[in-house]
Protein backbone atom coordinates (compact mmCIF):
# COMPACT_ATOMS: atom_id res chain seq x y z
CA UNK A 1 0.00 0.00 0.00
CA UNK A 2 2.75 2.45 0.99
CA UNK A 3 4.58 1.28 -2.09
CA UNK A 4 1.61 1.93 -4.36
CA UNK A 5 1.16 5.40 -2.87
CA UNK A 6 4.79 6.34 -3.26
CA UNK A 7 4.71 5.05 -6.86
CA UNK A 8 1.64 7.15 -7.50
CA UNK A 9 3.27 10.25 -6.03
CA UNK A 10 6.38 9.55 -8.06
CA UNK A 11 4.27 9.13 -11.19
CA UNK A 12 2.38 12.38 -10.59
CA UNK A 13 5.65 14.20 -10.08
CA UNK A 14 6.95 12.81 -13.37
CA UNK A 15 3.76 13.75 -15.19
CA UNK A 16 4.07 17.32 -13.91
CA UNK A 17 7.72 17.38 -14.99
CA UNK A 18 7.25 16.11 -18.52
CA UNK A 19 4.14 18.18 -19.16
CA UNK A 20 5.95 21.26 -17.86
CA UNK A 21 8.83 20.67 -20.24
CA UNK A 22 6.58 20.00 -23.19
CA UNK A 23 4.53 23.07 -22.24
CA UNK A 24 7.59 25.30 -22.15
CA UNK A 25 8.91 24.00 -25.46
CA UNK A 26 5.66 23.66 -27.37
CA UNK A 27 3.45 26.39 -25.96
CA UNK A 28 5.29 29.07 -24.01
CA UNK A 29 8.14 29.33 -26.52
CA UNK A 30 6.04 27.79 -29.30
CA UNK A 31 5.24 29.64 -32.51
CA UNK A 32 2.96 32.63 -32.11
CA UNK A 33 -0.31 31.79 -33.83
CA UNK A 34 -1.72 35.30 -33.87
CA UNK A 35 -0.70 36.27 -37.35
CA UNK A 36 -1.58 32.98 -38.97
CA UNK A 37 -5.13 33.31 -37.67
CA UNK A 38 -5.86 36.91 -38.65
CA UNK A 39 -5.29 38.24 -42.08
CA UNK A 40 -3.10 41.09 -43.23
CA UNK A 41 -3.61 44.67 -42.12
CA UNK A 42 -5.18 43.88 -38.75
CA UNK A 43 -5.52 46.75 -36.30
CA UNK A 44 -4.06 46.57 -32.74
CA UNK A 45 -7.49 45.94 -31.28
CA UNK A 46 -8.11 42.87 -33.46
CA UNK A 47 -4.66 41.60 -32.57
CA UNK A 48 -5.34 41.98 -28.88
CA UNK A 49 -8.67 40.17 -29.30
CA UNK A 50 -7.11 37.18 -31.03
CA UNK A 51 -4.30 37.05 -28.47
CA UNK A 52 -6.89 37.03 -25.73
CA UNK A 53 -8.82 34.23 -27.43
CA UNK A 54 -5.61 32.19 -27.71
CA UNK A 55 -4.87 32.89 -24.06
CA UNK A 56 -1.59 34.61 -24.84
CA UNK A 57 -2.33 37.42 -22.37
CA UNK A 58 -2.55 34.99 -19.43
CA UNK A 59 0.33 34.47 -16.95
CA UNK A 60 2.62 31.45 -17.24
CA UNK A 61 1.12 29.42 -14.39
CA UNK A 62 -2.41 29.92 -15.62
CA UNK A 63 -1.56 28.79 -19.13
CA UNK A 64 0.32 25.74 -17.85
CA UNK A 65 -2.65 24.66 -15.72
CA UNK A 66 -4.94 25.12 -18.71
CA UNK A 67 -2.63 22.99 -20.83
CA UNK A 68 -2.52 20.13 -18.32
CA UNK A 69 -6.30 20.32 -17.91
CA UNK A 70 -6.67 20.08 -21.69
CA UNK A 71 -4.43 17.01 -21.84
CA UNK A 72 -6.29 15.19 -19.10
CA UNK A 73 -9.79 15.97 -20.31
CA UNK A 74 -8.68 15.30 -23.89
CA UNK A 75 -10.31 18.62 -24.66
CA UNK A 76 -7.54 19.65 -26.99
CA UNK A 77 -9.15 22.14 -29.30
CA UNK A 78 -9.42 21.80 -33.06
CA UNK A 79 -6.87 21.43 -35.81
CA UNK A 80 -5.88 24.71 -37.39
CA UNK A 81 -5.81 23.30 -40.88
CA UNK A 82 -8.90 21.10 -41.04
CA UNK A 83 -10.94 22.37 -38.10
CA UNK A 84 -11.49 18.77 -36.97
CA UNK A 85 -11.39 18.42 -33.15
CA UNK A 86 -8.02 17.04 -32.05
CA UNK A 87 -9.64 14.37 -29.90
CA UNK A 88 -11.49 13.07 -32.96
CA UNK A 89 -8.26 13.05 -34.99
CA UNK A 90 -6.67 10.96 -32.25
CA UNK A 91 -9.61 8.57 -32.09
CA UNK A 92 -9.43 8.10 -35.86
CA UNK A 93 -5.65 7.70 -36.25
CA UNK A 94 -4.33 5.98 -33.10
CA UNK A 95 -6.14 2.63 -33.70
CA UNK A 96 -4.78 2.54 -37.25
CA UNK A 97 -1.26 3.10 -35.98
CA UNK A 98 -1.61 0.38 -33.35
CA UNK A 99 -2.98 -2.08 -35.93
CA UNK A 100 -0.10 -1.16 -38.22
CA UNK A 101 2.76 -1.29 -35.71
CA UNK A 102 1.83 -4.04 -33.23
CA UNK A 103 2.41 -7.15 -35.39
CA UNK A 104 5.84 -6.00 -36.53
CA UNK A 105 6.79 -4.83 -33.07
CA UNK A 106 5.80 -8.09 -31.38
CA UNK A 107 7.24 -10.36 -34.08
CA UNK A 108 10.43 -8.29 -34.28
CA UNK A 109 11.05 -8.73 -30.58
CA UNK A 110 10.07 -12.42 -30.45
CA UNK A 111 12.31 -13.20 -33.42
CA UNK A 112 15.10 -11.15 -31.86
CA UNK A 113 14.77 -13.11 -28.62
CA UNK A 114 14.73 -16.46 -30.44
CA UNK A 115 17.75 -15.58 -32.58
CA UNK A 116 19.56 -14.09 -29.58
CA UNK A 117 19.00 -17.28 -27.58
CA UNK A 118 20.16 -19.44 -30.48
CA UNK A 119 23.30 -17.35 -30.94
CA UNK A 120 24.04 -17.37 -27.22
CA UNK A 121 23.57 -21.15 -27.10
CA UNK A 122 26.08 -21.67 -29.93
CA UNK A 123 28.40 -18.91 -28.81
CA UNK A 124 31.62 -18.83 -30.82
CA UNK A 125 30.43 -21.42 -33.34
CA UNK A 126 29.25 -20.95 -36.92
CA UNK A 127 25.55 -20.53 -36.02
CA UNK A 128 26.52 -17.59 -33.83
CA UNK A 129 28.72 -16.07 -36.54
CA UNK A 130 25.98 -16.51 -39.13
CA UNK A 131 23.36 -14.79 -36.96
CA UNK A 132 25.83 -12.07 -36.09
CA UNK A 133 26.61 -11.52 -39.78
CA UNK A 134 22.92 -11.14 -40.64
CA UNK A 135 22.40 -8.75 -37.74
CA UNK A 136 25.25 -6.49 -38.74
CA UNK A 137 24.10 -6.53 -42.36
CA UNK A 138 20.59 -5.60 -41.26
CA UNK A 139 21.87 -2.82 -39.06
CA UNK A 140 24.06 -1.31 -41.75
CA UNK A 141 21.33 -1.30 -44.43
CA UNK A 142 19.41 1.95 -44.47
CA UNK A 143 15.72 1.56 -43.63
CA UNK A 144 15.02 3.28 -46.95
CA UNK A 145 16.77 0.51 -48.85
CA UNK A 146 14.88 -2.14 -46.92
CA UNK A 147 11.47 -0.53 -47.47
CA UNK A 148 12.02 0.16 -51.15
CA UNK A 149 13.45 -3.29 -51.75
CA UNK A 150 10.46 -4.94 -50.08
CA UNK A 151 8.06 -2.76 -52.02
CA UNK A 152 9.73 -3.67 -55.29
CA UNK A 153 9.90 -7.37 -54.44
CA UNK A 154 6.39 -7.77 -53.05
CA UNK A 155 4.25 -5.00 -54.46
CA UNK A 156 5.32 -4.33 -58.04
CA UNK A 157 5.20 -6.20 -61.33
CA UNK A 158 9.01 -6.45 -61.12
CA UNK A 159 8.55 -8.78 -58.17
CA UNK A 160 5.70 -10.91 -56.87
CA UNK A 161 3.14 -8.11 -57.07
CA UNK A 162 1.10 -9.59 -54.23
CA UNK A 163 0.42 -6.56 -52.06
CA UNK A 164 -0.60 -2.93 -52.59
CA UNK A 165 2.32 -0.49 -52.64
CA UNK A 166 0.62 1.95 -50.33
CA UNK A 167 -2.66 2.87 -48.70
CA UNK A 168 -4.92 1.49 -46.00
CA UNK A 169 -8.42 0.35 -47.01
CA UNK A 170 -9.05 -2.02 -44.18
CA UNK A 171 -12.49 -3.39 -43.41
CA UNK A 172 -12.00 -7.11 -42.83
CA UNK A 173 -9.18 -9.47 -41.77
CA UNK A 174 -8.31 -10.23 -45.39
CA UNK A 175 -7.77 -6.63 -46.39
CA UNK A 176 -5.95 -5.99 -43.10
CA UNK A 177 -3.48 -8.73 -43.95
CA UNK A 178 -3.08 -7.31 -47.44
CA UNK A 179 -2.18 -3.83 -46.25
CA UNK A 180 -0.24 -4.71 -43.11
CA UNK A 181 2.14 -7.34 -44.48
CA UNK A 182 4.73 -5.22 -46.27
CA UNK A 183 4.99 -2.55 -43.52
CA UNK A 184 5.26 -5.32 -40.93
CA UNK A 185 8.06 -7.07 -42.82
CA UNK A 186 9.81 -3.70 -43.19
CA UNK A 187 9.57 -3.00 -39.47
CA UNK A 188 10.83 -6.48 -38.58
CA UNK A 189 13.79 -6.28 -40.96
CA UNK A 190 14.73 -2.77 -39.85
CA UNK A 191 14.67 -3.61 -36.13
CA UNK A 192 15.71 -7.29 -36.11
CA UNK A 193 19.46 -6.73 -36.29
CA UNK A 194 19.41 -4.35 -33.33
CA UNK A 195 17.07 -6.59 -31.35
CA UNK A 196 19.10 -9.73 -31.97
CA UNK A 197 22.40 -8.10 -31.01
CA UNK A 198 20.89 -6.65 -27.85
CA UNK A 199 19.21 -9.87 -26.73
CA UNK A 200 22.26 -11.99 -27.53
CA UNK A 201 24.43 -9.75 -25.36
CA UNK A 202 21.92 -10.01 -22.49
CA UNK A 203 21.69 -13.81 -22.77
CA UNK A 204 25.46 -14.32 -23.08
CA UNK A 205 25.98 -12.16 -20.01
CA UNK A 206 23.39 -14.19 -18.11
CA UNK A 207 24.87 -17.54 -19.28
CA UNK A 208 28.15 -16.69 -17.57
CA UNK A 209 26.58 -16.35 -14.13
CA UNK A 210 27.52 -18.68 -11.27
CA UNK A 211 24.04 -20.12 -10.90
CA UNK A 212 24.11 -21.33 -14.49
CA UNK A 213 27.21 -23.36 -13.61
CA UNK A 214 25.27 -24.77 -10.64
CA UNK A 215 22.38 -25.78 -12.89
CA UNK A 216 24.80 -27.52 -15.24
CA UNK A 217 26.50 -29.23 -12.30
CA UNK A 218 23.08 -30.59 -11.37
CA UNK A 219 22.66 -32.10 -14.82
CA UNK A 220 20.26 -29.57 -16.37
CA UNK A 221 19.94 -29.81 -20.17
CA UNK A 222 20.86 -26.99 -22.52
CA UNK A 223 17.18 -26.36 -23.16
CA UNK A 224 16.40 -26.09 -19.43
CA UNK A 225 19.34 -23.78 -18.91
CA UNK A 226 18.31 -21.46 -21.72
CA UNK A 227 14.54 -21.44 -21.50
CA UNK A 228 14.28 -21.64 -17.75
CA UNK A 229 17.28 -20.06 -16.08
CA UNK A 230 18.75 -17.71 -18.68
CA UNK A 231 15.43 -16.45 -20.02
CA UNK A 232 13.78 -15.76 -16.68
CA UNK A 233 16.88 -14.06 -15.32
CA UNK A 234 17.04 -11.85 -18.41
CA UNK A 235 13.46 -10.65 -18.15
CA UNK A 236 14.31 -7.36 -16.46
CA UNK A 237 16.54 -6.02 -19.27
CA UNK A 238 14.26 -7.59 -21.88
CA UNK A 239 11.17 -5.92 -20.40
CA UNK A 240 12.97 -2.61 -20.09
CA UNK A 241 13.90 -2.63 -23.74
CA UNK A 242 10.47 -3.68 -24.94
CA UNK A 243 8.54 -1.24 -22.78
CA UNK A 244 10.71 1.76 -23.46
CA UNK A 245 10.83 1.19 -27.18
CA UNK A 246 7.01 1.29 -27.38
CA UNK A 247 6.70 5.10 -27.48
CA UNK A 248 9.68 5.41 -29.80
CA UNK A 249 8.35 2.81 -32.21
CA UNK A 250 4.85 4.25 -32.14
CA UNK A 251 5.99 7.82 -32.74
CA UNK A 252 9.07 7.70 -34.94
CA UNK A 253 8.39 4.29 -36.48
CA UNK A 254 4.87 5.18 -37.46
CA UNK A 255 5.99 8.60 -38.71
CA UNK A 256 8.28 6.79 -41.10
CA UNK A 257 6.17 3.84 -42.17
CA UNK A 258 2.97 5.83 -42.48
CA UNK A 259 4.49 8.50 -44.65
CA UNK A 260 6.13 5.86 -46.88
CA UNK A 261 3.08 3.69 -47.21
CA UNK A 262 0.55 6.53 -47.15
CA UNK A 263 -1.30 5.21 -44.13
CA UNK A 264 -3.54 7.66 -42.24
CA UNK A 265 -2.31 6.95 -38.70
CA UNK A 266 -1.04 9.20 -35.93
CA UNK A 267 2.43 9.32 -37.46
CA UNK A 268 1.08 10.72 -40.72
CA UNK A 269 -1.12 13.17 -38.81
CA UNK A 270 1.91 14.34 -36.82
CA UNK A 271 4.00 14.63 -39.97
CA UNK A 272 1.31 16.76 -41.61
CA UNK A 273 0.96 18.86 -38.44
CA UNK A 274 4.69 19.54 -38.39
CA UNK A 275 4.83 20.61 -42.02
CA UNK A 276 1.80 22.84 -41.73
CA UNK A 277 2.60 24.15 -38.22
CA UNK A 278 -0.69 22.84 -36.83
CA UNK A 279 -0.07 23.68 -33.19
CA UNK A 280 -3.08 22.12 -31.42
CA UNK A 281 -2.30 18.73 -32.95
CA UNK A 282 1.41 18.93 -32.09
CA UNK A 283 0.66 20.08 -28.56
CA UNK A 284 -1.56 17.08 -28.06
CA UNK A 285 0.87 14.58 -29.56
CA UNK A 286 3.86 15.82 -27.58
CA UNK A 287 1.93 16.11 -24.30
CA UNK A 288 0.27 12.73 -24.62
CA UNK A 289 3.54 11.02 -25.58
CA UNK A 290 5.09 12.41 -22.42
CA UNK A 291 2.20 11.13 -20.33
CA UNK A 292 2.41 7.75 -22.08
CA UNK A 293 6.11 7.55 -21.16
CA UNK A 294 5.26 8.04 -17.51
CA UNK A 295 2.46 5.45 -17.59
CA UNK A 296 4.82 2.97 -19.25
CA UNK A 297 7.43 3.62 -16.61
CA UNK A 298 4.95 2.87 -13.83
CA UNK A 299 3.71 -0.25 -15.61
CA UNK A 300 7.30 -1.42 -16.18
CA UNK A 301 8.05 -0.99 -12.50
CA UNK A 302 5.08 -3.18 -11.62
CA UNK A 303 6.17 -5.82 -14.15
CA UNK A 304 9.68 -5.89 -12.65
CA UNK A 305 8.14 -6.93 -9.37
CA UNK A 306 6.39 -9.80 -11.12
CA UNK A 307 9.51 -11.22 -12.76
CA UNK A 308 12.17 -10.60 -10.11
CA UNK A 309 11.47 -11.60 -6.50
CA UNK A 310 14.36 -9.45 -5.28
CA UNK A 311 12.60 -6.24 -6.26
CA UNK A 312 10.03 -5.23 -3.67
Amino acid sequence: MRYALSKLAHGLFLVLGVTLISFILMVWFGPDQTYTLIGKNANPQQIAEVRHELGYDQPFARRYVDYVAQLFTLNLGASNSSGEPVSRILKRTVPITLALMLPGFILGNLLGIALGLTAAQHRGRWTDHLINGFSVTGMSLSFLVIIILLQVLLSTPYGLNLFPVRGWQVDDPGSYLKYVTVPTLSLILVTLGYNTRFYRAVFVDESGKDHIRTARACGASTATILWKHVLKNSLVPVLTRIMFSIPLIVISGSLLLESYFGIPGIGKATFDAITSGDQPVLKAVVGLTAVAFVLIQILTDLLYRLVDPRIS
Binding site: D210, R213, T214, A217, C218, L235, D308
Partner: protein, 266 residues
Protein backbone atom coordinates in the same frame (compact mmCIF):
# COMPACT_ATOMS: atom_id res chain seq x y z
CA UNK B 1 41.55 -52.76 -1.01
CA UNK B 2 38.53 -51.63 -3.01
CA UNK B 3 39.20 -49.85 -6.29
CA UNK B 4 39.01 -46.04 -6.13
CA UNK B 5 35.66 -44.35 -6.84
CA UNK B 6 37.30 -41.56 -8.75
CA UNK B 7 40.59 -41.93 -10.52
CA UNK B 8 42.27 -39.04 -12.31
CA UNK B 9 45.14 -39.71 -14.71
CA UNK B 10 47.25 -36.88 -16.10
CA UNK B 11 44.66 -34.13 -16.08
CA UNK B 12 45.71 -30.82 -17.61
CA UNK B 13 43.65 -27.68 -18.04
CA UNK B 14 44.73 -24.71 -20.07
CA UNK B 15 43.22 -21.41 -21.03
CA UNK B 16 42.70 -20.85 -24.76
CA UNK B 17 42.05 -17.15 -24.43
CA UNK B 18 45.53 -16.07 -23.34
CA UNK B 19 48.25 -15.44 -25.95
CA UNK B 20 50.47 -18.45 -25.25
CA UNK B 21 48.24 -21.25 -23.93
CA UNK B 22 48.77 -21.16 -20.18
CA UNK B 23 48.24 -24.37 -18.24
CA UNK B 24 46.50 -23.69 -14.93
CA UNK B 25 46.45 -27.41 -14.07
CA UNK B 26 49.39 -29.56 -15.18
CA UNK B 27 49.38 -33.34 -15.45
CA UNK B 28 47.81 -34.15 -12.12
CA UNK B 29 46.87 -37.68 -11.07
CA UNK B 30 45.17 -38.89 -7.92
CA UNK B 31 42.65 -41.39 -6.58
CA UNK B 32 39.64 -40.89 -4.35
CA UNK B 33 38.85 -44.01 -2.34
CA UNK B 34 35.41 -45.23 -1.24
CA UNK B 35 34.12 -43.42 1.83
CA UNK B 36 37.11 -41.15 1.95
CA UNK B 37 37.21 -37.41 2.64
CA UNK B 38 40.10 -36.12 0.56
CA UNK B 39 41.32 -32.58 1.03
CA UNK B 40 42.74 -30.42 -1.73
CA UNK B 41 44.73 -27.58 -0.23
CA UNK B 42 46.74 -24.80 -1.79
CA UNK B 43 46.87 -21.06 -2.01
CA UNK B 44 44.46 -18.93 -4.00
CA UNK B 45 44.87 -19.34 -7.75
CA UNK B 46 46.74 -22.67 -7.66
CA UNK B 47 44.02 -24.34 -9.76
CA UNK B 48 41.75 -26.08 -7.25
CA UNK B 49 38.48 -24.86 -8.71
CA UNK B 50 39.60 -25.46 -12.30
CA UNK B 51 40.52 -29.05 -11.40
CA UNK B 52 37.05 -29.60 -9.96
CA UNK B 53 35.29 -27.98 -12.91
CA UNK B 54 37.36 -30.05 -15.34
CA UNK B 55 36.36 -33.28 -13.57
CA UNK B 56 32.67 -32.26 -13.76
CA UNK B 57 33.07 -31.24 -17.42
CA UNK B 58 31.84 -27.74 -16.61
CA UNK B 59 34.52 -25.66 -18.31
CA UNK B 60 33.17 -23.87 -21.39
CA UNK B 61 34.66 -25.48 -24.49
CA UNK B 62 35.40 -22.21 -26.25
CA UNK B 63 37.55 -20.84 -23.44
CA UNK B 64 39.27 -23.86 -21.93
CA UNK B 65 40.94 -27.01 -23.13
CA UNK B 66 40.92 -30.06 -20.90
CA UNK B 67 43.19 -33.05 -21.51
CA UNK B 68 43.20 -36.24 -19.50
CA UNK B 69 44.23 -39.85 -19.96
CA UNK B 70 41.30 -40.79 -17.78
CA UNK B 71 38.71 -39.32 -15.44
CA UNK B 72 37.27 -42.56 -14.17
CA UNK B 73 34.15 -42.47 -12.03
CA UNK B 74 33.20 -45.95 -10.83
CA UNK B 75 35.10 -47.43 -13.74
CA UNK B 76 33.54 -45.35 -16.52
CA UNK B 77 35.63 -42.65 -18.15
CA UNK B 78 34.01 -39.23 -17.99
CA UNK B 79 36.67 -37.83 -20.31
CA UNK B 80 35.25 -39.95 -23.13
CA UNK B 81 31.57 -39.15 -22.50
CA UNK B 82 29.78 -36.69 -24.78
CA UNK B 83 27.95 -33.75 -23.18
CA UNK B 84 24.65 -35.66 -23.17
CA UNK B 85 26.22 -38.54 -21.26
CA UNK B 86 27.85 -36.19 -18.78
CA UNK B 87 24.48 -34.59 -18.14
CA UNK B 88 23.09 -37.88 -16.87
CA UNK B 89 26.04 -38.30 -14.52
CA UNK B 90 26.17 -34.77 -13.12
CA UNK B 91 24.03 -34.26 -10.05
CA UNK B 92 23.33 -37.98 -9.93
CA UNK B 93 26.66 -39.81 -9.56
CA UNK B 94 28.94 -36.84 -9.05
CA UNK B 95 27.93 -33.43 -7.75
CA UNK B 96 29.55 -30.22 -6.77
CA UNK B 97 29.06 -27.47 -4.19
CA UNK B 98 30.47 -24.06 -4.93
CA UNK B 99 32.61 -21.52 -3.21
CA UNK B 100 30.15 -18.64 -3.32
CA UNK B 101 26.72 -19.38 -1.80
CA UNK B 102 25.50 -15.86 -2.60
CA UNK B 103 25.52 -16.39 -6.35
CA UNK B 104 25.43 -20.16 -6.72
CA UNK B 105 21.64 -20.44 -6.56
CA UNK B 106 19.34 -19.00 -9.20
CA UNK B 107 17.91 -15.78 -7.71
CA UNK B 108 14.56 -15.92 -9.51
CA UNK B 109 13.48 -19.45 -8.56
CA UNK B 110 12.60 -20.70 -5.09
CA UNK B 111 14.87 -23.09 -3.22
CA UNK B 112 12.09 -25.66 -3.52
CA UNK B 113 11.88 -25.31 -7.27
CA UNK B 114 15.63 -25.78 -7.71
CA UNK B 115 15.81 -28.74 -5.33
CA UNK B 116 12.70 -30.43 -6.69
CA UNK B 117 13.90 -30.14 -10.29
CA UNK B 118 16.76 -32.51 -9.43
CA UNK B 119 14.40 -35.21 -8.18
CA UNK B 120 12.25 -34.77 -11.27
CA UNK B 121 15.21 -34.87 -13.65
CA UNK B 122 17.24 -37.73 -12.20
CA UNK B 123 14.72 -39.79 -10.29
CA UNK B 124 11.69 -39.36 -12.56
CA UNK B 125 9.52 -38.08 -9.72
CA UNK B 126 6.25 -36.27 -10.31
CA UNK B 127 5.89 -32.71 -9.12
CA UNK B 128 4.28 -33.58 -5.79
CA UNK B 129 6.61 -36.51 -5.12
CA UNK B 130 9.56 -34.26 -5.86
CA UNK B 131 8.36 -31.70 -3.31
CA UNK B 132 7.91 -34.46 -0.75
CA UNK B 133 11.47 -35.67 -1.38
CA UNK B 134 12.74 -32.09 -1.23
CA UNK B 135 11.19 -31.60 2.16
CA UNK B 136 12.78 -34.79 3.47
CA UNK B 137 16.13 -33.77 2.00
CA UNK B 138 15.94 -30.35 3.67
CA UNK B 139 15.36 -31.89 7.07
CA UNK B 140 18.34 -34.16 6.39
CA UNK B 141 20.55 -31.07 6.15
CA UNK B 142 19.19 -29.72 9.41
CA UNK B 143 16.27 -27.46 8.52
CA UNK B 144 13.34 -27.50 10.92
CA UNK B 145 10.94 -25.28 8.99
CA UNK B 146 11.30 -27.08 5.67
CA UNK B 147 7.99 -25.89 4.20
CA UNK B 148 9.09 -22.28 4.56
CA UNK B 149 12.54 -22.86 3.15
CA UNK B 150 11.02 -24.51 0.07
CA UNK B 151 9.02 -21.36 -0.61
CA UNK B 152 11.94 -19.00 -0.05
CA UNK B 153 13.97 -17.30 -2.73
CA UNK B 154 17.77 -17.45 -2.24
CA UNK B 155 17.99 -13.79 -1.18
CA UNK B 156 15.61 -14.53 1.69
CA UNK B 157 18.01 -17.12 3.16
CA UNK B 158 21.22 -16.54 5.09
CA UNK B 159 24.59 -17.65 3.69
CA UNK B 160 24.66 -20.76 5.84
CA UNK B 161 21.10 -21.69 4.89
CA UNK B 162 21.88 -21.24 1.20
CA UNK B 163 24.90 -23.47 1.49
CA UNK B 164 22.77 -26.12 3.21
CA UNK B 165 20.25 -25.90 0.37
CA UNK B 166 23.20 -26.45 -1.99
CA UNK B 167 24.23 -29.50 0.02
CA UNK B 168 20.69 -30.82 -0.19
CA UNK B 169 20.75 -30.36 -3.98
CA UNK B 170 24.17 -31.96 -4.36
CA UNK B 171 23.33 -34.95 -2.15
CA UNK B 172 19.76 -35.41 -3.41
CA UNK B 173 20.64 -38.40 -5.57
CA UNK B 174 23.11 -39.95 -3.11
CA UNK B 175 26.04 -39.43 -5.48
CA UNK B 176 29.19 -41.56 -5.42
CA UNK B 177 31.37 -38.46 -5.29
CA UNK B 178 30.82 -34.96 -3.96
CA UNK B 179 33.22 -32.16 -4.81
CA UNK B 180 32.90 -29.35 -2.25
CA UNK B 181 34.77 -26.26 -3.39
CA UNK B 182 35.57 -24.20 -0.29
CA UNK B 183 31.97 -24.60 0.87
CA UNK B 184 32.48 -22.53 4.01
CA UNK B 185 34.99 -19.84 3.08
CA UNK B 186 32.25 -17.23 2.86
CA UNK B 187 30.64 -18.19 6.20
CA UNK B 188 31.35 -17.23 9.81
CA UNK B 189 33.16 -19.69 12.09
CA UNK B 190 30.18 -21.27 13.88
CA UNK B 191 28.21 -21.68 10.67
CA UNK B 192 31.31 -23.15 9.04
CA UNK B 193 31.47 -25.92 11.62
CA UNK B 194 27.74 -26.67 11.32
CA UNK B 195 27.86 -26.87 7.53
CA UNK B 196 30.97 -29.09 7.47
CA UNK B 197 29.53 -31.40 10.17
CA UNK B 198 26.33 -31.78 8.15
CA UNK B 199 28.27 -32.40 4.97
CA UNK B 200 30.57 -35.10 6.31
CA UNK B 201 27.81 -36.82 8.30
CA UNK B 202 25.60 -37.02 5.22
CA UNK B 203 28.58 -38.26 3.20
CA UNK B 204 29.05 -41.10 5.64
CA UNK B 205 25.36 -41.98 5.71
CA UNK B 206 25.10 -42.10 1.90
CA UNK B 207 28.53 -43.66 1.29
CA UNK B 208 29.58 -40.62 -0.71
CA UNK B 209 33.29 -39.94 -1.08
CA UNK B 210 34.13 -36.28 -0.69
CA UNK B 211 36.74 -34.15 -2.38
CA UNK B 212 36.95 -31.18 -0.03
CA UNK B 213 38.71 -28.15 -1.45
CA UNK B 214 39.90 -25.75 1.21
CA UNK B 215 42.80 -23.56 2.14
CA UNK B 216 42.24 -23.97 5.85
CA UNK B 217 44.63 -26.55 7.43
CA UNK B 218 42.33 -26.61 10.46
CA UNK B 219 39.53 -28.00 8.30
CA UNK B 220 41.92 -30.58 6.85
CA UNK B 221 42.94 -31.74 10.31
CA UNK B 222 39.41 -32.00 11.61
CA UNK B 223 37.44 -33.45 8.69
CA UNK B 224 39.74 -35.16 6.20
CA UNK B 225 41.45 -38.55 5.89
CA UNK B 226 43.98 -37.65 3.25
CA UNK B 227 45.20 -34.48 1.58
CA UNK B 228 46.58 -33.31 -1.75
CA UNK B 229 48.73 -30.21 -1.65
CA UNK B 230 48.61 -28.16 -4.83
CA UNK B 231 51.09 -25.55 -5.94
CA UNK B 232 50.86 -23.70 -9.24
CA UNK B 233 48.74 -26.32 -10.95
CA UNK B 234 50.67 -29.38 -9.73
CA UNK B 235 50.17 -31.80 -6.86
CA UNK B 236 53.30 -31.52 -4.75
CA UNK B 237 52.25 -33.81 -1.93
CA UNK B 238 49.71 -36.60 -1.43
CA UNK B 239 49.62 -37.99 2.08
CA UNK B 240 47.51 -39.16 5.00
CA UNK B 241 46.47 -36.24 7.16
CA UNK B 242 48.34 -37.64 10.17
CA UNK B 243 51.57 -38.00 8.18
CA UNK B 244 51.08 -34.65 6.53
CA UNK B 245 51.00 -32.80 9.82
CA UNK B 246 53.67 -34.95 11.45
CA UNK B 247 56.18 -35.16 8.58
CA UNK B 248 55.43 -32.67 5.78
CA UNK B 249 57.64 -33.65 2.82
CA UNK B 250 57.53 -30.47 0.82
CA UNK B 251 58.78 -27.04 1.83
CA UNK B 252 55.58 -25.45 0.61
CA UNK B 253 53.48 -27.80 2.77
CA UNK B 254 55.51 -26.84 5.79
CA UNK B 255 54.92 -23.15 5.18
CA UNK B 256 51.21 -23.73 4.50
CA UNK B 257 50.78 -25.64 7.77
CA UNK B 258 52.86 -23.14 9.71
CA UNK B 259 50.26 -20.49 8.98
CA UNK B 260 48.01 -22.20 11.54
CA UNK B 261 50.54 -23.70 13.93
CA UNK B 262 49.07 -25.85 16.67
CA UNK B 263 45.95 -27.16 14.89
CA UNK B 264 47.74 -30.34 13.82
CA UNK B 265 47.21 -32.28 17.03
CA UNK B 266 43.65 -33.40 16.11
Amino acid sequence: MNPPVLSIRNLSVSNRRTKQPSAVVQQISFNLNPGEVLAVVGESGCGKTKTAEAIMGLLPRDGWSVQADAIELDGSDLAKLPESGLRRVRGRKISMIFQEPLTALDPVFTAGNQLASIFRRHRGKTRSEAYQCSMEMLSKVGFADTRNVLKSYPHQLSGGMRQRVMIAMAMACRPRVLIADEPTTALDVTTQAQVLDQLTRLGQEYGTSILLITHDPGVVAQYCDRALVMLEGRIVEDANVRDLFARPQHDYTRRLLASVAGVGSG
